[in-house]
């Protein structure tokens, strides 16, 4: 069976290799062929391939047959620990050797058996395989393979150099010194394994050795017993190796807690069954209630705790380099034996956890593997989402903090602004007596700014009447869900009475009668004083104005009074004459007396009206029917209108809501407007002197108008309302100014407009209607 051979396509191109996998193991030797070179890319580049083929041909001619290396396994290819050694050798060798080569392998399956002619079949096979000539290099892996070569070298392949790899330094002597032989060995420190075991499990009292029954396995077990004698004061060493694996599984279930298992090599159990790929370890590990230690890299991850490990890959790598040197022509005698130290202690994180071994017990420079993949690796997306949430949350929290800081700053600014504006802020939750108030608020209520008055203490400063009003305002506000505004007094401890305007909002609390309230209070005492002064002045002025209006009307007013008086007198004297007669007509006398009484009343009413107008009273707002007010004024001015030949034209809507006003002041205003209207028409011919009196409800207000057909308004209408401006030679110029003040005080407006047809003017008064009763 001649292997097909492929060389490198070109020096720079990759390896075009065929690695024919072995389909089965069994007892049939395995062969594996491999060519060297580097991985390449041929598919896309036809030219390169053509060129490569040409070069390959050239190379084959130059180099002749590829060099052949025979890897000889002590067990099968897949048995620990040499599988790793061989694997590394294969991959590393390609790095070191650039000539065409073939790695062929065979294993000493039969080495598992002890028998008289155990080498025979393999020898036959190898002879058949190499009948054309021996391999260029013979590489036995492990002591068994080395021993096979020593035993049969002369008979089989006396010439090719021997590169013995993977065996412990203490077994090198079994092969013996030979110039055509070199070694890449290892230094296995069995005592070091026990050191490791005891360091990790200081309480261990018994160590069970678990191993196979093949010679190498027996060898190692014996070595362990030997080397661990130094620990006899601390531990007892026992062997499980005489038990087949199924029994081992049972045994390890009931081992004491202070025991530990050390797995040497376990390829062939006591029942003679092979266990590849550490399947024995897996089986025992499943049931063991004590930790299993071991030294093979392959075992790590399958159940051993870990420690110093057999340096399989480094042996393979070093051997590959050495093999390349030999094939390149170096003499084996000139290549010294290489001893590889154990790999740095390496542990299985899961086992450490399982047996509660803290990582602090591991020696320096240890490697811990099989840590659970970090969350990142398993739940990357979820983690990203989570992280996103975290960031969002953090941002939110940060912004909340910022907002809180801002709001604190705002609150401080607000406090400051409120203080500057002399506004006091306060609020209270529904329950409890705790009132939160700004310093300005406490000042308004006569407390020290740093005092913390309760709500009761604050309310106690408000006189009882006002307190009741405030309470009612709270209730109304809570019911109607609307703000309230109220002026009330505050009595300071020294007896000073302050006027405070409080505005706020109340919301119902949990229990009836409880409110959450908040609001602002302002001390308006100064304004109050100023307002009352202004009010007094306005009243004085209004009074003066009324007196002067009435002065203008005095002639007419005298007529109004003298008329009934005249009637009374004439009637009375007529009665006197009648009664002097012999037979007085008593019916006539009775009629006369009736007239006298009614005329007396008439005179009295006139005087009453005059007195009302002349009274120096306070402004009193009350619901007023403007039609009545008009009528009253007309009664007073009737004579004046007659005297001045002015016709009155009444246009009063019958359905007018009452207005909130002071009757006397409204009369005064109308009186003034009527007088002005008459004055404006002095130059009109007698038939064209008409004053219209209008009253109507429009745009939610009651509008009164006094319209004349006179000379009209000046260009600057507002001048009329300016104090001390008069168009009359004897006028004081205060009339309209005072009228406007009076109307404004009642929440109304007073203005003048020219008539639409350009003749004459109209003076309008608008007044708010009484709010409908709640």
């Amino acid at each position: 069976m001649k292997p097909k051979v492929y060389g490198p396509a070109c020096p720079a191109s990759g390896r075009i290799g065929v690695d024919r996998p072995s389909s089965s193991f069994g007892h049939r030797p395995n062969l594996n062929f491999q060519t060297g070179g580097k991985p390449g890319y041929s598919a896309g580049v036809v030219k390169l391939v053509v060129c490569g083929l040409l070069m390959l041909l050239a190379r084959l001619e130059a180099a002749g047959e590829p060099r052949r290396i025979l890897l000889l396994y002590s067990f099968g290819r897949d048995f620990t620990p040499f599988d790793e050694v061989a694997e590394t050798f294969r991959s590393e060798f390609a790095q070191h050797y650039r000539q065409p080569y073939v790695i062929q392998d065979a294993s000493l399956e039969m080495a598992r058996f002890d028998g008289p002619d155990r080498d025979g079949p393999l020898l036959d096979y190898l002879r058949a395989m190499y009948r054309d000539g021996p391999p260029d290099l013979l590489v036995p892996i492990g002591a068994q393979a080395a021993a096979f070569c020593v035993r049969n070298r002369k008979a089989l392949f006396p010439d090719p150099p021997l590169l013995v790899i993977g065996l412990d330094q203490r077994r090198i002597g079994e092969v013996g010194p030979d110039p055509n032989t070199t070694f890449v060995g290892v230094r296995l420190d069995l005592a070091g394994y026990m050191d490791n075991l005891l360091r990790l499990r200081p309480g261990t009292r018994t160590v069970y050795l678990m191993g196979g029954t093949s010679p190498i396995e027996r060898f190692w077990e014996a070595e362990a017993f030997h080397d661990w004698q130094v620990f006899s004061d601390r531990i007892v060493v026992r062997s499980l190796s005489d038990q087949p694996v199924p029994r081992m599984r049972e045994t390890v279930k009931s081992l004491p807690e202070d025991a530990a298992i050390f797995l040497t090599l376990m390829n062939l159990d006591a029942a003679g069954l092979p266990y590849e790929r550490e399947s024995a370890l897996r089986a025992v590990h499943e049931t063991s209630r004590v930790p299993i230690f071991g030294s093979m890299p392959r075992q790590l991850g399958l159940g051993i705790v870990g420690g110093p490990l057999y340096p399989g890959s480094r042996v393979g790598a070093t051997a590959a380099a050495t093999a390349a040197r030999i094939l390149n022509g170096e003499a084996t005698s000139s290549i010294p034996t290489t001893i590889i130290d154990e790999a740095p202690p390496t542990y299985d994180w899961r086992e450490l956890k399982r047996w509660n071994i803290p990582e602090s017990r591991l020696p320096a420079g240890s490697v811990v593997r099989f840590r659970p993949p970090r969350l990142w690796e398993t739940h990357g997306t979820a983690m990203w989402i989570g992280l996103g949430f975290l960031i969002l949350q953090s941002v939110t929290i940060a912004s909340l903090f910022a907002a809180r800081r801002r709001s604190r700053r705002m609150a401080r600014s607000l406090d400051f602004a409120a203080d500057v504006a002399k506004v006091g802020l306060w609020w209270r939750e529904a329950h409890g007596d705790r009132l939160i108030s700004s310093a300005g608020c406490r000042r308004i209520f006569g407390f020290q700014p740093d005092a913390e008055p309760s709500e009761r203490e604050m309310l106690d400063r408000i006189p009882e009447d006002d307190r009741r009003s405030l309470q009612q305002a709270f209730e109304r506000s809570a019911r109607g869900n609307e703000a309230f505004s109220l002026e009330h007094r505050v009595r300071w401890p020294d007896g000073t009475i302050r006027w405070v305007s409080t505005s706020g909002m109340a919301r119902p609390g949990r229990a009836p009668g409880e409110y959450r309230t908040s609001g602002a209070s302002v001390d308006v005492s100064e304004q109050h004083q100023a307002a009352s002064l202004a009010d007094l002045q306005r009243r004085e002025l209004a009074h003066l104005s009324r007196v002067s209006s009435l002065g203008v009307l005095s002639g007419a007013l005298a007529h109004e009074i003298n008329q009934p008086l005249g009637i009374i007198l004439s009637n009375a004297q007529a009665a006197q004459y009648l009664l002097e007669e012999e037979h007085p007509d008593l019916d006539e006398v009775r009629a006369i007396l009736e007239d006298i009484v009614s005329e007396d009343r008439r005179a009295g009413n006139v005087i009453h009206r005059l007195r009302a107008l002349l009274r120096r009273g306070e402004t009193r707002l009350e619901p007023i029917d403007v039609r009545e007010t008009f009528q009253e004024v007309l009664k007073l001015t009737r004579s004046e209108l007659i005297r001045r030949n002015v016709l009155a034209d009444l246009r009063l809507e019958s359905q007018l809501p009452p207005v909130q006003a002071d009757a006397v002041q409204l009369q005064q205003v109308l009186l003034n407007l009527i007088t002005n209207a008459c004055d404006a028409m002095d130059d009109n011919p007698p038939g064209q002197r008409v004053v219209s009196f209008e009253a109507r409800f429009e745009n939610d207000e009651v509008r009164l108008a006094v319209r004349d057909r006179g000379v009209g308004l000046p260009a600057d209408v507002e001048l009329l309302f300016t104090p001390f401006h008069s168009s009359k030679p004897d006028g004081l110029g205060m009339g309209l100014a005072i009228c406007r003040t009076l109307i404004s005080a009642q929440g109304g407006r007073l203005w003048a407009e020219p008539n639409p047809d350009g003749r004459g003017a109209a003076f309008h008064v608008s007044l708010p209607p009484c709010s409908p009763p709640p």
Binding site: G555, A556, A558, H559, E560, N562, Q563, P564, L565, G566, I567, I568, L569, S570, N571, Q573, A574, A575, Q576, Y577, L578, E588, I592, D595, S598, E599, S639, I642, R643, N645
Partner: protein, 205 residues
């Protein structure tokens, strides 16, 4: 004396009634008018010897009525009754020929005194008017030639001058003048002059 009809002009019916009662009690015959216009409309058919006017009334007021009466040459005496002591108005009233200017409330005595005065005035007016009527009646009997001569006589001319002016003999002038005296009953030239003036007969040019 039958001068007892008194006109009352006032826009206040109560006032009219009160004055009515007072006048009736004092033996007068009042006649009520509710406005100046009312009086102007009815005074011919319902004549009054005197009128008491309210000064201030809608429409035509008292002063204006007085002025109209004077324009219409209705020589009725007027008493003003005013609700106010308005001096400018009273001055205007007296100038306009009012008998008196009284203010309300007016005492009956004052009113009666004023009425007596007014009626005395009225009587005088009436007498004058009757004399004038007589005279006018007598003058109405004059022939045109006699009237012509009269117009010359009242200029104070001598008979000779009149004869020359009229182109007639002096004798004829004398006869006409004799007839004049007979018909008018006025012997003196002075009386003739006054009567002619009163009757509106113009002197010859």
């Amino acid at each position: 004396m039958n001068l007892r009809t008194i006109g009352l002009v006032d826009d206040d019916p109560k006032m009219l009634q009160a004055l009515d009662r007072l006048l009736v009690a004092n033996g007068f015959h009042p006649r009520r008018f509710s406005s100046a216009e009312d009086f102007l409309a009815r005074h011919r058919t319902e004549p009054c010897d005197c009128v008491i006017l309210d000064l201030r009334m809608p429409g035509i007021d008292g002063l204006e009525l007085l002025e109209r009466l004077r324009k219409l040459e209705i020589p009725i005496p007027v008493i003003f009754l005013s609700g106010e002591g308005d001096i400018p108005a009273s001055v205007r009233a007296i100038k306009g020929g009012a008998v008196d200017f009284l203010t309300k409330p007016v005492d009956a005595t004052d009113l009666m005194n004023a009425l007596r005065l007014a009626l005395h005035e009225a009587a005088k007016v009436r007498a004058n008017r009757e004399a004038a009527d007589q005279l006018r009646g007598r003058f109405a009997t004059l022939t045109p030639r006699e009237t012509e001569v009269l117009r010359h006589v009242i200029t104070g001319k001598l008979n000779k001058q009149i004869a020359a002016d009229l182109g007639i003999s002096e004798q004829t002038v004398k006869i006409h003048r004799m007839r004049l005296v007979e018909k008018t009953g006025l012997p003196s030239v002075a009386e003739l002059v006054r009567a002619a003036d009163h009757l509106g007969i113009e002197p010859a040019a």
